[in-house]
Symmetry: D2
Subunit: 454 residues, 4 copies
Amino acid sequence: MSAQSGRLWETGAALDELVHRFTVGDDPTWDGHLVHWDCLGSAAHARTLARAELLSQAELDALLAGLADIDRRARAGDFAIPEALEDCHTAIEAALTKRCGQAGAKIHAGRSRNDQVATAMRLFMRHHALRWLDLLDAFVAAVTGRIRCDGHIAMPGYTHLRPAMPSRVGQWLHAIAEAGLEQMRAACDLLERLDACPLGTGAGFGVPLPLDRAHSAELLGFSRVQRSALDVQNSRGRLEKYFVRAAVDVAAVLEKMSCDLILFTAAEFGFFGLPEAMTTGSSIMPQKKNPDVLELLRGRSARLRARLFELEWVTGKLPSSYHRDLQLTKEPTIRIALELPELLEVATRVAAGFTINAERLAAAMGPELYATHAALELVQRGVPFREAYRRVAEEIKAGRFDDGAAERWRRSTERFDPAILAALEDERAAWRRETKRYRVRTAAAEAELLPGNH
Amino acid sequence: MSAQSGRLWETGAALDELVHRFTVGDDPTWDGHLVHWDCLGSAAHARTLARAELLSQAELDALLAGLADIDRRARAGDFAIPEALEDCHTAIEAALTKRCGQAGAKIHAGRSRNDQVATAMRLFMRHHALRWLDLLDAFVAAVTGRIRCDGHIAMPGYTHLRPAMPSRVGQWLHAIAEAGLEQMRAACDLLERLDACPLGTGAGFGVPLPLDRAHSAELLGFSRVQRSALDVQNSRGRLEKYFVRAAVDVAAVLEKMSCDLILFTAAEFGFFGLPEAMTTGSSIMPQKKNPDVLELLRGRSARLRARLFELEWVTGKLPSSYHRDLQLTKEPTIRIALELPELLEVATRVAAGFTINAERLAAAMGPELYATHAALELVQRGVPFREAYRRVAEEIKAGRFDDGAAERWRRSTERFDPAILAALEDERAAWRRETKRYRVRTAAAEAELLPGNH
Amino acid sequence: MSAQSGRLWETGAALDELVHRFTVGDDPTWDGHLVHWDCLGSAAHARTLARAELLSQAELDALLAGLADIDRRARAGDFAIPEALEDCHTAIEAALTKRCGQAGAKIHAGRSRNDQVATAMRLFMRHHALRWLDLLDAFVAAVTGRIRCDGHIAMPGYTHLRPAMPSRVGQWLHAIAEAGLEQMRAACDLLERLDACPLGTGAGFGVPLPLDRAHSAELLGFSRVQRSALDVQNSRGRLEKYFVRAAVDVAAVLEKMSCDLILFTAAEFGFFGLPEAMTTGSSIMPQKKNPDVLELLRGRSARLRARLFELEWVTGKLPSSYHRDLQLTKEPTIRIALELPELLEVATRVAAGFTINAERLAAAMGPELYATHAALELVQRGVPFREAYRRVAEEIKAGRFDDGAAERWRRSTERFDPAILAALEDERAAWRRETKRYRVRTAAAEAELLPGNH
Amino acid sequence: MSAQSGRLWETGAALDELVHRFTVGDDPTWDGHLVHWDCLGSAAHARTLARAELLSQAELDALLAGLADIDRRARAGDFAIPEALEDCHTAIEAALTKRCGQAGAKIHAGRSRNDQVATAMRLFMRHHALRWLDLLDAFVAAVTGRIRCDGHIAMPGYTHLRPAMPSRVGQWLHAIAEAGLEQMRAACDLLERLDACPLGTGAGFGVPLPLDRAHSAELLGFSRVQRSALDVQNSRGRLEKYFVRAAVDVAAVLEKMSCDLILFTAAEFGFFGLPEAMTTGSSIMPQKKNPDVLELLRGRSARLRARLFELEWVTGKLPSSYHRDLQLTKEPTIRIALELPELLEVATRVAAGFTINAERLAAAMGPELYATHAALELVQRGVPFREAYRRVAEEIKAGRFDDGAAERWRRSTERFDPAILAALEDERAAWRRETKRYRVRTAAAEAELLPGNH
């Protein structure tokens, strides 16, 4: 009996308990993160039902109050999803029915769990993409801040992990900042792809009720409706993949910074240091101060790729439409939404806090770093480059290479270009501005649909 | 000896031949696809050198004529890259030096192979992204064409691969078209990310010559300069990853269509057929007509993901700056540029050519497909949805479910919505328009830098 | 202060709390699964210390009693790992020190967390590999049981998902059974690779104390010592990879069975069915009976590959020796150890429970399935195969193909070969026997080191 | 027409040329590596046909001579596979039919391309696994040789890339040797899994002819028959996966060695060097000597994982039996068979050739490396370890730590343990012995089936 089980469906037979537990899986756990978004989606759906006169005003009011209450309870940690109820969608409908009676029994008209889940996930992803943008913004700001303070300090430039040409701390940091800005751009692209409302497409074949999908979309702050009902189901996992990739790409920036810092803080390089409060020790070797924080930034950034792979495997090679496999897209998406902020916060702390050992850096600026400069000085005096290259190579080999070029480099380029700093700040502000419309619409949806909860 | 080896570098020692062959690897093969783009990049660099008075007008003219000649020869299959010369960049410089003497020896001033490769790859990717867009456009057009002709034919909608609700051939195709359009949007995002010129950043630490990077960028049709020299190297593989992902996502659309068609053309479904000219036989079973083309579309689309994985593994966990590992980003990028067009062309042929078995489709429209419609008709008469759901479930169980809803569905929705067809065409045109500026700039660069070759 | 923090190391500075939480991560959660194995490893280490006269008999007795008590508490859910203590190893040493005083402070002599974790993980993996073997054995037994009952029922054989040749239910199941047996073989290979004791290698550079590593190995039931101390650290993740691959390969067998059953239970095929107790319904479509259990077997089997990928990314491209990244090898290993049994149990239930629709199967045995038989009958009468193939193809095309071969096939092969059934049973028994020595040694270690707890 | 097309099948319709080219793909290229193995498999099949009196002795003799001739031509580069003929199997049958007439038309009786390909691939993989073992053996021998010469030289041991404890060059190399030996063990496991003959299973449903499969197996040097005909098809890709994994694991050993050497040869460490003949230069920086060989060993080892991923994607989530996707398992398998030897040969050259900078190593043996030794000396005098750890930590902090332990370490452990060297040699010999039976059987098969060609 549905009355007994509380599930949204009923085949009429007792369910094999092992099979039931298996099909439910971890959904109740992960769905804890979706309650708020399902309340929002449900409130929009209820309003669209009322507009189509499929709910009375009183029923609508009761449902909206009920959803706001569930949302409040969930935020207070007071709304559990029992395993018997499978997922948050069922638990919310059950709670509504308990509270509002017949109105609760009406709310699922014109929707399926299929479009309901898609709606909740899309709202969830929009929210978290905006949150990433804030944290990424803070990270880029921290890096830019370090450029402003320490950008001028000379530092060897490496290729193949071998000293190559003279560079500066600011040039190293600049590359990190640019990579961060590129991910801000990418997050904006992501937000645009997420900006289509799936609600009202039912199980993937539309709904034979006169529901105004554009109204639902507007209420939820989407700028367009996702036209194809079947594509809503086909995009389960596809949009999640864009979301996860955006996180993976942000993490790759942190991974590279960590790889650099693990080397540059090693005793053998000694360019940078970690404050003691960021190092850890050994259980056996009393002298150790280990950069675990950097190694875990590297390792955890690297492993995020596995979430992407998980999504690919869960969704790949499936025919069109909904298959239960798609339920497995929730976990990697939700996990990554929770993990990336941790990585960004720690990386920002590291970027702001690493120390600089000016003496070791100065000592590392050996004469051979300037070989290319010497060759290009010859070029400026008319020597063809290949000839200049050969002459310098011979001087080095014969031990006759002098450091005039080094002296001239030091005199010529003393600070990090303020125009670039300004450009970085401008671009950062531009991406922030670009996302404002999503923030405004999201806030408006929350205020309108779950009033009093924010 | 450099004189003997022709390589762009020389450590002065005889190179271990096993090691040399290993370091060269397949570069000469893959670089065959880059000659044109390196000629273009080299022409822009030469003009910027001349503008800085590091080349005379006569030298510039000689170099430009030489590059145009190399480009023509490469197109005619008449420009080989000898293993001894490692890569196309070396082979081109060697050919220029042979032809133009001292001017050839001057062209490498102010650049490194590092920014040179990055430039060639970016031009290569821009070109191929535009080509994909054309083929994707044709694919979406073929799908839309089928919707126009056959969109009205009724077809069961499936979830969990079980008959779910009534649908139409057009609704199935519509989902494919939408997924295709989304990838056109994605290709536009990709073009924007590729739209930054790396030329003039040298080995990753800039170049101490007064070169006008903005001029180079404009000549090559880029709308901006990639500011950070180090980020140019750090973006090796990063931009390639965006490129490969765009292809993987297009292929995922084809994969899903193939998975559907493999089922729907199976005897047990029998909804669709493949023209005999698209089937293949068995070496042992005389009666077989196999859908190899669909299976290979599925398998080859699926395996494209391995190229992405290859890029991730080659570039992941590397510190900043250039490492030789990055050379291995060429193969997956070039391969995917060549493979995706094949997949798109074949998929377009399939989408245009599959046949429809109207009788089998009609026979498959069993009454249970309309259960949800029946329940929602009750909802429209005021029955709460949960109650309506239960009533219909009981009717079905008791064998009392009648097909009134079926009859009403058939009467109500006879054709595929022409407004949606129009919207699909509009969006397709919009993405084409969006890319026009890249096409114009690319064509202008070709005409300006390698005149007479196009 | 270590006294305050309880950590096994102390750099002397207050630790940044954000960084601390980040470095601890989920270790306390995952380590809950390792307490038992660390107690076992610690008991062996204590005995080896005592043998080297680095612990008195009284100290040893106190430690062994303490470890047995911790083990009992952990099994009763009564041994928590506080976040402040980072991991189970620290929590266990802290608990021992609290209980046994100075003896507790002595137990870490001659070991590092590095070899301690490796030991615990190896014991954990050995245990779970043996558990998998039991469940795999039960799965193969269920499949073999179905062959015995239903193996004779005729069923079309498919290639390219197109009817190919006559087959039997037993032949389909036989392939599954063989794949299962192959994984039993693979589990035996895995056990052999795990059969080397890492204890006593310290942080990766040995321990300057006269500890008898062979004694530790014997106590723990390993047949050999892992010789190289550094390789113990380098094998973190490497051995886990073998373990995870073994699970992934088992799951691939279940994945394939699920893919088959999703098709064969579809209405359009209709060969098999799922008992109602294994089907689930739809929230919107009253008539649906969905094979969620099969789809989740497919999806969850497929996604296990992501754990492997996670391990590869965490451990790949690392230099020799311990890096904190390696801590991230725990999660995928432990998760997969817990997940595979669920999959195996459910798959066994499905294999034993699916129903067979003999009428649909019989109806599906169309005459064209016998084309190859007809051709090979001609071959037996002396016609060259290529000629026979052509003749039959022409008969089919002309509608002249008769079903004599069908009739003869039906008469000739009425049951599944009992010799093969016997061979399957024999091989299953052989692999069970092959693992007996590991079971015996493991049980002996438990009885000896944590007496009274089993 | 088959007569015209030469294909082994014929649906009777003209084939769409785009589709045909697409379905053939690169098969002719990759199949070039399979001709020899298909000749071997075909010779065995012919002999088994003759034994069943389906070929006369004269026909058999003609076929065997024809196969030996094709094999010789292929080895001489004189046997092309035209695109029209799709694959090597068709080309070989066509060549036989051209040469032997009716005997050629008879050879395909009782087999399908499905079991034929499986047989050729299995022979191919067995051959290459044995070849890897030889090269791996040589690599381990080179490493062991370096231990013998240089094993005694002191070197810091690192954890977290921070100096940890005193170690020796030999201990670093020992870990590499052990990892190599483990892969020799793994290759033996692989050979055992490959040791089952698929020939005679047809398209996956057996063959209704009285063919003696055990005879075919014996002729080809397999110790058992693969019992289930359907499992032969299901194991396409599964066995290839084992093969590719074995290669990936060998490469991971080389990857780790390369990661170490990139660091240890960096100027900042300076422990080791590369002979100049193994370094490469820069196109712009005249002073550079780059370790491209090490970076490519790292990058190419890392990317091998993509081949595994390719196999997983091509074969994952497929139902039982043959699907054309499986054809795509050839490329990654064959590529990896060709790539791994290159990597092993270069790595062996590097392992034998890197130079040691004894002064830099000696200078790096700083006093703090001995902190653990100092603590454990206290332990041996009865101080509990935790107390000893704290005392030493305080001495270090206070600058009072003396290097008595260092002196004692230097005196106590002067050379690499010869017993371990002997154990390494013994184990290496053991794995070689273990493979002898496969070598003997393979050689016997070649001599028997293609006499005169070896």
